[in-house]
């Protein structure tokens, strides 16, 4: 049975983007539909103009070890995992229309990986009867 995973991506720090990539990619490999709703400062990861995502202060010391370990284990970046999952599966990325309005952003300001700008109602309707994660 095909499943459905919906992720509310809220956090804007690098450590939280890794599970976004891993879970989307694993769900997509299982044949599940994946909907990602980007809101809050997670928006920073989906801008066309890229800036490195920050690490939370309490884990800053561990960031180099994390990065080194990811390299050693051939772990792809969260962005590449998402991109690959989108290319091979049914993965959609939506940016929250409220956040887009607050920061005065149009689809043109966002990374091409983003499918659309939608409101909370659309996301909740899409997420209905599936698994929902808040990251």
């Amino acid at each position: 049975m095909m499943g459905k995973l919906s992720i509310i991506m809220f956090s804007g720090t690098m450590d939280k983007f890794i599970p976004l990539g891993v879970l989307s990619s694993a769900a997509s490999a299982l044949g599940d539909e994946v909907n990602i709703f980007v809101t809050g400062f997670a928006l920073l990861g989906f801008m066309k103009e890229k800036k490195p995502l920050p690490f939370p202060d309490e884990f800053k010391d561990m960031a180099p070890a994390l990065e080194e370990g990811m390299k050693r284990t051939n772990t792809k970046s969260w962005y590449d995992m998402l991109k690959e999952a989108k290319e091979s599966g049914n993965v959609k990325i939506y940016v929250c229309s409220l956040m887009a309005s607050i920061f005065n952003l149009s689809k043109n300001d966002l990374d091409p990986i983003v499918d659309d700008i939608v409101g909370a109602t659309t996301f909740l309707t899409q997420a209905e009867n599936g698994m929902v994660l808040f990251i």
Partner: protein, 77 residues
């Protein structure tokens, strides 16, 4: 008699091997056999979960010195 497809996902970490497996599965047919080679320690449980969900059969799981080898009979496409 179907094809035997070897998926070499050694050195790839979670969820890499399952992503590689699902890619091969997309091009496979019922009757084919996929042989997945991996080093990620989560791959045994993950492949069993994948097989259960996609309704395919794990034929065997073996470990040799440098890899885990999982043989999957493709029974459902």
């Amino acid at each position: 008699m179907g094809k035997r497809i070897v998926v070499d996902a050694r050195g790839s970490s979670c969820p890499g091997p399952i992503v590689e497996l699902s890619k091969a599965y997309r091009n496979a047919a019922v009757g084919d056999v996929i042989e997945l080679w991996a080093t990620d320690p989560g791959v045994k449980a993950d492949t069993q979960a994948w097989a259960e969900k996609t309704k395919n059969k794990i034929e065997s799981i073996k470990e040799d010195q440098d890899k885990i080898i999982i043989v999957i009979d493709i029974e459902n496409r």
